[in-house]
Assembly symmetry: C2
Homo-oligomer: 340 residues x 2
């Protein structure tokens, strides 16, 4: 069913013994085979389309070279693609593949999926959440190398990578301040998650550092989607002393702020500047003018998680690390100096 070219066919075509082929293909640099011969054998194998049987070799060396990626809700988030691709690119570079499963937030299904990954002898599991959160790793994963992606445990016992939420908000608000704004509103999320708290902190930090007075009336919370953003922005932009710039919890909230500005007859960015967080391109590029925003580094977090777990697999015993990743400013067209 799979490849019909075996090690014998490679040996015959290369004019060497099966043992020599085995050394040449399995050892990174073989002491038993001359470098030129090894290169020749590898070329022959490549030309013939020889694929070593990893299933059998996994049984021998106790490595399947498969990583599991367990996620909660792959379909409802537009970020899953970048996360998964980052993980797959890093895995591929080190000779591994990633088997992706997702539970739709059903813990029983998740448990059955993890069992299935264990049956396939995965070498480690990346436990990914589709937005930054505190998570508990299922007890089932005990004993298997595990890394958390876009999530962290309270006790820091497992290596994890999350976006630097405070830093992301500081970057956004600093961009508004540098453009000359001092009347800056924030539309935050209502949910009790790390992003809500971190982004509020970053907002306050950036104002304080620049010596800008924080007006509590300029801080509004709403549900973190377009309609919530529209309503919150109508409240802020409907004031007589309206803010000249809005920092929005995410790009969807910012899209709602665009709708509110249109309703109120305000031009972006001439009358009001708007900035988001996410760099969700399907929104940020499609809005008119394009949305200036701060990117969440999903691709880079996916890469980091795989590289970390492979380091743990290859040299066990490293202390767990908690990584916060930088979030860069992405400039489009929604930021300008305040109206004079």
């Amino acid at each position: 069913m799979t490849t019909k070219v075996g090690i014998r066919e490679v040996a015959k075509a290369a004019g060497v013994s099966v043992t020599t082929v085995s050394h040449a293909l399995n050892d990174a640099t073989s002491f038993r085979v001359k470098a030129a011969t090894q290169e020749h054998i590898r070329e022959v194998a490549r030309d013939l389309g020889y694929a070593p049987n990893r299933l059998a070799s996994g049984l021998r060396n106790q490595r399947s070279q498969i990583l599991g990626l367990v996620s909660d809700e792959i379909t409802t988030t537009p970020f899953a693609g970048a996360l998964i691709r980052g993980a797959q690119d890093a895995a591929y570079e080190r000779g591994y593949v990633v088997m992706v499963v997702n539970s739709g937030m059903d813990s029983e299904l998740e448990s059955r999926e993890i069992t299935m990954l264990q049956q396939h002898q995965v070498d480690g599991v990346i436990y990914a959440r589709m937005y930054h959160q505190n998570a508990q790793v299922p007890a089932q994963l005990a004993g298997l190398p595990t890394v958390l992606l876009d999530a962290a445990t309270e006790d820091g016992s497992i290596s994890s990578v999350v976006p630097d939420e405070v830093g992301a908000a500081e970057t956004a608000v600093k961009a508004l301040i540098q453009a000359g704004h001092t009347r800056i509103g924030m539309i935050n999320n209502v949910d009790d998650i790390p992003a809500t708290h971190g982004r509020r902190q970053g907002f306050l930090n950036a104002l304080r550092r620049a010596g800008v007075q924080h007006d509590p009336g300029y801080y509004v919370i709403g549900t973190a989607h377009t309609e919530g953003g529209r309503q919150a922005a109508l409240e802020l932009l409907g004031r007589n002393d309206r803010p000249t710039a809005l920092f929005c919890f995410n790009d969807r909230v910012a899209m709602g702020a665009y709708q509110a500005a249109t309703l109120l007859g305000l031009r972006i960015p001439e009358d009001v500047s708007i900035i988001g967080i996410d760099n969700l391109e399907i929104i940020a590029d499609a809005l008119w003018p394009g949305l200036t925003t701060v990117a969440l580094p999903h691709y880079q977090m996916g890469r980091w998680a795989v590289n970390r777990i492979l380091d743990d697999i290859e040299s066990p015993g490293n202390p767990a690390v908690q990584t916060q990743m930088d979030c860069p400013l992405i400039e489009r067209g929604s930021l300008a100096p305040p109206p004079s």
Copy 2:
């Protein structure tokens, strides 16, 4: 590294022999073990968290119970999640897992990824494209059960599933006609792909069937994103005899049509009705009013592809089938009778 509970532990806890456990767990219904005993052994195995070693069992029965899903550009499309989840759900129901790899449209990388899937002894490969297109399956996949997802070969030699593009457009335009519109514009894509031709055909079919005259000036093409949609809609809605309804190639084009309507001071749906295709929720739900559109059945196509390939694996020799999947109307708020 994986489970420490083996078949011996299950046998001991269930009070039966290892052979009996093996029959009870490996045969769907075993003639060698009484049904009640089989059920008892399965319960014990479940309670102990016993996970049969699929890697070893794959070597015995020549099935890895892994399917490969090879896609072109998982990160740049918001549809990948639904496609993959449909595939994974169907695979899970039949005891398989899906290993997802993506090439970023780099054919050399794709070839190396397929080799890697073959090394892991996948039982079959779903070759997915992220939008409906004619595709050639790599020669490398010859001999391995293969199904095309959101793509088809010219000669129909491989089973495939794609959306019914003509039917999707007919559904959209019929909804406009039923609301009373006769001056209906279409903004189509410039790309030479099946969706472009099929949707044009469906547009013309629906008009002809309803006896509505087609005005060639109401048919405009543009690039299939928001900016292209905005420019095309400005052209159509800027006419003195402007259409009262726009059928847009996709939801992003429809978002551009919303921007054009706002620029021209036209209300949706009171002054102009707008309908899309995709049901890309992050756009269709976020627009205001919500966008009425026709859904592309990505989840269902993912399911179909997996069920078909497992049928082919379990009973080889079925003739290839080409499936076109129905696309349902999703009503939100962008459709109303024409202004009187």
